[in-house]
């Protein structure tokens, strides 16, 4: 591996991101899968970094799941997006940041398509007016939320309490970075580091003391792939994708996986359980799995958030071995407590993959 080669590519694919004042839109599936990640993101940027990130309760899904599943035509997705942009405009913002990778890809695709085909943009303006009586302005800047954490990664490092270092050995944790396909594979110039060697997560990991693993199936899809999973008959294909990745990363003995997509951490997490149930094989040490976390969860951990406030108990793979490696104290009794200490009940333990 020639690190200088990657550094050159990273230098070629940089973006000049506005420092402040963003209109933030959530992800429809992240709110279900990882509800604390978006809350943590907003807490970090607003309260820890003092930035202005506004959200509007009337925003909706971007339509990306339906669009990529061929359930709605592109014009419908574009009209939904136009409505989101109208909400941003009405709220007095010009910079748009979204939580979901697929949304980011779809917003980028939409803006690029309108740039190439202005007549289509005019048609969408009419659709939006006919359906909602709204007018939109295109954002001056479009970012993904992971771009923001990347931009502020050194500011976060200044507030870091638990670096990505094994407290027992003093060595950096070995981290697999997994980028959502829609981040930069369609438009390489829109992502930090481009399409082949994205830097957005690598930059975070390195700024926070970890060591990134480059393994042969790094670029492989997590297995979600929309129709690979949504079409029930294809789910074996989804699982085999994930299986291929774990077989490839296993020899490197990663401590955790960091992701920036709604679906990737879900499938990298849940399929480990299924693979273990089917084959008895686990990929972490001592019968545990490898934790697959969102970048907000990793940022929250290094900044000293309570692991259960970050929602790490909703992961299938047990997080405790990672917490112990990082020297993070946690209260096992609070793992399955909800708001105001409400007992949520402990889930049934799987047969093969170890839980605490």
């Amino acid at each position: 591996m020639i690190v200088e080669g990657k550094q050159k590519i990273w230098a070629d694919y940089q973006k000049d991101i506005p420092d402040d004042h963003y209109f933030y839109v959530r992800s429809c599936i992240r709110q279900s899968f990882w509800p604390a990640s978006e809350v943590t993101f907003l807490d970090i940027v607003r309260n820890k970094l003092g930035k202005d990130f506004y959200e509007n309760a009337y925003h909706t899904t971007c339509g990306g799941i339906a669009y990529h599943s061929d359930s709605i035509p592109q014009e419908t997705a574009m009209t939904i997006i136009a409505r989101q942009f109208a909400l941003m405009h009405e709220s007095g913002y010009e910079n748009y940041v979204c939580s979901c990778i697929t949304s980011f890809g779809l917003y980028t695709e939409t803006l690029e398509t309108w740039h190439e085909f202005p007549e289509l943009e005019a048609k969408i303006r009419q659709y939006l007016w006919d359906s909602c009586k709204k007018e939109f302005a295109k954002p001056k800047y479009l970012a993904h939320a992971s771009d923001m954490i990347y931009k502020f990664r050194f500011d976060i490092a200044k507030q870091m309490k638990f670096p990505l270092v094994n407290v027992k050995t003093g060595k950096p944790l070995k981290v697999v970075e997994h980028i959502g396909c829609h981040y930069s594979k369609m438009f390489p110039s829109k992502g930090f580091g481009g399409a082949e060697y994205p830097h957005v997560l690598v930059g975070m990991v390195e700024a926070w003391g970890g060591e990134v693993i480059d393994y042969p199936e790094r670029r492989q899809c997590c297995g979600f792939g929309f129709r690979q999973y949504f079409v029930q008959a294809n789910r074996g294909y989804s699982e085999s994708n994930t299986h291929k990745k774990f077989e490839s990363m296993e020899p490197y003995e990663p401590d955790l996986i960091i992701t920036n997509c709604p679906g990737c951490p879900y499938f990298l997490d849940r399929w480990q359980y299924v693979i273990a149930e089917q084959t008895g094989k686990t990929y972490g040490k001592n019968g545990y799995g490898i934790p697959a976390l969102t970048y907000e969860e990793v940022a929250g951990l290094v900044m000293g958030y309570d692991p259960w406030d970050l929602g790490l108990q909703v992961h299938q793979v047990a997080i405790e071995p990672l917490l112990e490696k990082m020297g993070i104290h946690y209260d096992p009794k609070k793992k399955y407590q909800g708001v105001n200490g409400k007992d949520l009940g402990m889930p049934q333990c799987p047969m093969h993959i170890k839980s605490v």
């Binding site: 591996m1 020639i2 080669g5 990657k6 050159k8 082949e196 060697y197």
Partner: protein
């Protein structure tokens, strides 16, 4: 009739044009930006399809131009035209007056790192066809350490919309097969694979080379493009491709991967080309006045082109064009 003819570029086209112009009684003057004449061919070990030593050809060409006035390590930095002809200023501060100009500026090699998915400059054992040729010449390259499995990727930077080069680079197919045979000569036990889109064996003896590659050297030719390259824990390369004849994806571990880099227009001449008023084609190469009958002339009176500055060309094509440009210039001077 000792008219000066300015030849920009001292590769195969420039040297051969100078040789012929001198024989015709004109005074060619070669301006070459590098430290020696010979161009890309001087860096080559053997030539397809007959494995002829490149040095033999280059030495003969050099001998033919030994009396031609040559400026090495020199570029044309300005050029003007008036009723008396062309007036060039060189980077060594010399000035040349010439009745005609021959652009023989050749090509650049496509920068393999632009195809990021192939990992050139990222993964240690990915190399270019030019670097492999240097290994054949010198026997030295630390990446080549008794390899057991070697792959060649055709069309790197050619026939590729993603890098805006839709043209065929013409010589890479035959070069890949030549190099595949040569690497088998050095490492007879190695398995060698070439990944191609189409094998364009267009010249005399080329199709025979293709058969020889498979029958005598047991090189496996796979029709399909490599889509990504990565590195495993042992530093070996893991490639993914599609075998389009079998209709199946393919994954393979290799010790060395060789990228057959395309020719691109030599952009270092752009400023002078602009001053001379010679346009480019949509593929970026220089535009001649007619692809059938005016392949050596341009839209500008007294400005001629020869060799790979107008399109990718093999050495025989280039020599042929250099000889024809000499005739064109001779006729122009004597019009």
């Amino acid at each position: 009739m000792k008219e000066n003819i300015l030849i920009i570029g001292g590769g195969a086209a420039g040297m051969e044009a100078a040789t012929q112009l001198q024989k015709m009684g004109l005074t060619p003057i070669i301006v070459e930006k590098s430290e020696a004449l010979g161009g890309h061919i001087a860096q080559w070990d053997r030539l397809f399809p007959a494995f002829h030593p490149a040095k033999d050809v280059v030495d003969k060409m050099l001998d033919q131009v030994k009396d031609v006035k040559t400026h090495l390590n020199t570029e044309v930095i300005d050029i003007q035209k008036d009723n008396n002809g062309f007036h060039a200023v060189l980077s060594n501060n010399e000035k040349i007056d010439a009745k005609a100009v021959v652009l023989a500026t050749g090509f650049d090699i496509f920068k393999a790192e632009r195809k990021q998915e192939y990992g050139y400059g990222i993964y240690n054992n990915v190399m270019t066809s030019v670097e492999l040729e240097q290994f054949f010449r010198t026997g030295k390259d630390e990446r080549i350490n008794n390899p057991k499995k070697i792959g060649f990727v055709h069309c790197v930077g050619a026939r590729d919309v993603k890098v805006c080069n839709t043209y065929c680079s013409k010589v890479c197919c035959t070069t890949a097969l030549k190099q595949a045979c040569e690497i088998k000569e050095v490492f007879p036990d190695a398995e060698v694979y070439t990944f191609y889109m189409d094998l364009r064996m267009f010249g005399p003896g080329y199709e025979d080379l293709y058969l020889k590659t498979q029958k005598d050297f047991d090189v496996k030719c796979v029709r399909g493009r490599v889509c990504e390259v990565s590195e495993d824990m042992d530093g070996k390369l893991v490639i993914k491709a599609e075998d389009t004849l079998f209709g199946k994806p393919l994954k393979m571990t290799l010790d060395v991967l060789v990228l057959m880099c395309a020719m691109e227009k030599n952009k270092s001449i752009d400023a002078i080309q602009q001053k001379l008023g010679v346009a480019n084609n949509s593929d970026g190469f220089m535009q001649n006045s007619d692809m059938y009958l005016g392949m050596n002339s341009t839209a500008q009176d007294g400005v001629f082109v020869a060799g790979a500055c107008t399109a990718p060309k093999s050495l025989p094509d280039t020599i042929g064009e250099a000889r024809s440009v000499a005739t064109q210039v001779y006729n122009y001077i004597n019009r």
